[in-house]
Amino acid sequence: MSFESVSALLHMHGYAPYVWPAWGVALGALALLALHARYEKRQLLRDIERRIRRERVNHDTQA
């Protein structure tokens, strides 16, 4: 461990305003990409299912 305490780690010997935003944006971008992918999949499956249901209703009313 190259820091004496957690507060020293957070302080980064004065480089905190540079190190933390850079890491935050990088890891935040990864998290956003993953969450977006998951959201996209849910949305797609829901849309497909909704369309199936709609087509079924149309089919029943026509019959």
Binding site: S2, Y18, W23, E40, L45
Partner: protein, 246 residues
């Protein structure tokens, strides 16, 4: 041989086979990223010249490497799609382009934040940063071109042609930007210095790079599967799948 290629190119087959791989890819990438983060932020020694600001390297370099690898993937997919008309390659290219653009943006952002303690300003027309900026424009061009076509197939082919033109131009652009940079401002202090980094410093970097690659593989596979669902949404197997999951 050709049967294998066409089987590999079948979206349904890919969807089925890639499913079991995904949890492994996700967990491997998370484990690597966590190890790399803790190691890089807390345990790696500070640089004797740049101090702790050096720790930005552990996200800057992986993002920059991914940004370039992703463009290579785009070009490979473009060749496969244009020559063999394998739609799966185009689906991968569709989802890889925004990922590459995001990585390019991360590399640019972390690079310019790193620039303040090292150079004293947000932006320096350093050769690497400038090439990265141009790469971002290339990505945005490819994404915009694909979106501009109403027919999906035309958009795919146009984006593939542009990706190939871009990949041929990229080395020329990098070379010319380096040339321009050495002419205008002799390199005073490069962000990522090559000479002999000790193992305690480059090992966490290696872990982070691998973590980013695993994350890239997981995200692109996952979103390629989404793209399959989108494009095959009228086929029977996708309908059955949608009904089963809900």
């Amino acid at each position: 041989m050709w049967q294998i290629v066409h089987k590999l190119g079948s979206p349904k087959w890919f969807y089925r086979v890639s499913g079991p791989w995904l949890p492994w890819l996700w967990s491997l990438s998370v484990v690597l990223l966590v190890i790399g983060t803790v190691w890089g932020l807390a345990f790696a020694p500070a640089d004797y010249q740049q101090g702790d600001s050096f720790r930005i390297i552990y996200v800057h370099v992986p993002a920059a490497i991914l940004a370039q690898s992703c463009f290579a993937l785009l070009a490979i997919c473009a060749v496969i799609f244009l020559v063999w008309r394998i739609k799966l390659a185009d689906m991968a290219a569709t989802v890889a382009a925004p990922f590459g653009a995001a990585m390019t943006f991360v590399a640019l952002f972390t690079g310019s934040v790193w620039g303040i303690p090292t150079w004293g300003t947000w932006w320096v027309w350093d050769a690497r940063l400038t090439s990265m900026l141009i790469l971002l424009f290339l990505y945005l061009g490819i994404i915009a071109l694909r979106g501009a076509f109403t027919s999906r197939d035309s958009g795919s082919r146009a984006a593939s042609i542009l990706a190939l033109v871009g990949v041929i131009n990229l080395p020329i652009i990098k070379y010319s930007v380096n040339w321009w940079n050495t002419l205008h401002q002799p390199a005073t202090f490069s962000l990522t210095r090559q000479p002999a980094m000790p193992a305690e410093m480059w090992l966490p970097l290696l872990v982070m790079v691998l973590g980013f690659y695993m994350f890239f593989a997981a995200t692109v596979t996952f979103r390629t599967r989404n793209e399959i669902l989108r494009r095959e949404s009228r086929t029977r197997w996708v309908r059955e799948l949608a009904e089963k999951t809900h």
